[in-house]
Symmetry: C2
Subunit: 278 residues, 2 copies
């Protein structure tokens, strides 16, 4: 018998993965949650039938949504992660010795439970004493905490369903206020091949709120088209020109991120540059 998982990446584009076993499938108050054992990518988490992460390529996304900002800010101590209940971002953050507190706000308890049970490789950071897990709405948490965080990471699903509010101007304004005076945030912001209007809109919005707005990129094979972007809004530090601590970065033991890749990630192709605010 052949079992395949198929995701509609767009209306007109699909990815299919051969499945050894469906390890978990349930419906939370927010979404359908499933864990698949795939032949090509190993264990895979899907939410509402969209691939979130998998053991083969997760390192790219999790290293790039965390270390770029953490090495731009000279001394990040308090970090907030919104979404990303799989734990991959938290695992990377706690590699940084200067971090004093990581608040991880995930709206869906089921995702956290599934991560603990099926993805110990990702959720291992949850055990770090500096990490506090809060099951709550990230939008509310950001509104209720002003001037608290050195860095905020928006590790959201796509801008449909529960994550829509995480792509709004109102939310980015709340993020600005939740940051300390020299804080910065990073959000995942989709593909320039398939979501170019969204990237235009987000970078323009962030540019209207933050003194420094930067788009950067990496390749996540299981996301549509592979080419994936992140947007940083920063009150003070510029990730393009920051002097990197090479020894500290080498000690992170990463597979995608490096000081070279930090710099490279901000070099955008002409067709991507066209999406940015003038």
């Amino acid at each position: 018998m052949e079992v395949w998982f198929t995701e509609d990446q767009t209306n007109d584009l699909r990815i299919g993965c051969r499945v050894r076993e469906v390890l978990f499938s349930d419906v939370s108050p927010f979404q359908k949650v499933a864990v698949l054992d795939t032949v090509e990518f190993g264990r895979m988490l899907t939410l509402d039938n969209v691939i979130q992460t998998n053991l083969k390529d997760e390192f790219v996304y999790h290293e790039m949504i965390t270390h770029v900002g953490l090495n731009t800010h000279p001394n990040p101590k308090k970090v907030l992660v919104i979404g990303g209940g799989d734990g991959g971002a938290v695992r990377e953050i706690v590699k940084h010795q200067g971090i004093e507190r990581v608040v991880h706000v995930e709206i869906d308890q089921m995702v956290i439970d599934v991560a603990k049970k099926f993805f110990p490789e990702l959720s291992c950071g949850f055990a770090d004493p500096r990490v506090e897990i809060v099951v709550d709405d990230g939008i509310k948490h950001v509104k209720d905490n002003k001037g608290v965080y050195d860095m905020i990471i928006v590790d959201s699903t796509d801008p449909v369903g529960p994550a829509v509010g995480l792509f709004s101007e109102e939310f980015y304004r709340s993020v600005f206020e939740a940051l300390t005076g020299d804080g910065l945030f990073v959000a995942q912001t989709e593909s320039p091949f398939f979501n170019s209007e969204l990237i235009k809109q987000i970078t323009a919005t962030v540019n209207g709120i933050f003194p420094v707005t930067r788009l950067y990129w990496a390749v996540v094979p299981t996301y549509p088209g592979g080419y994936w972007t992140f947007t940083m809004g920063s009150k003070m530090y510029d990730p393009k020109t920051v002097v990197l601590d090479e020894a500290k970065i080498a000690a992170l033991n990463t597979k995608w991120y490096s000081s070279e890749i930090h710099r490279t990630a901000f070099m955008l192709q002409p067709f991507v540059k066209e999406l940015l605010p003038r």
Copy 2:
């Protein structure tokens, strides 16, 4: 009615594209040739059911397999293209005014005919008076022409079927001999996520033949995983350290390639660096 084209990118990974119309489908002496009008990517060429190119993302591959080498060699005059019957590589090469002659050796007449009829956006370079199209075996052509070319581009299909010989040590030795004293070649060399052993093997082989061996990368959304590599073997010039002619590059009117992207393409992630010869 819904019509979908599905490619098995690996045994365990598939891509599916919604099809408006099948414009052409036939069998040549070498392979199955098809042209599809897809909703997501526009017109698409497939060979033996594998996506070769499409109007939406072709610019990435064609710009990167040509301009990196053409801007590394200070004065390329004679260029050989093996494979790539769609014409996209030739279109980019003839943008360079110093080019005197482009010999395009494609084994399959049907691919050339299909490119002329269905892909004028790619095959437009065929009309340039400097271009000579030769329907022949690229391996044979390289053996028969020694010391002739400043640059050789190996625009092959995957290393199965008719293209197997284009990934062999014997072929790379013939390429070395077909080049002028300061010549260089570029070949497409697959994905580090899915073909890491092949990349190891090719870079080691080329490194045993050429004084300079360099792996570089780009993102082609319709190729497995998006992250795609190219390998350059060069007798003299190093693409990593060459001083680029910024004005000349800006005039190429490219969407992916730029002088910044030329330099960043050689910055490899730690997991890719591990594949290179020590």
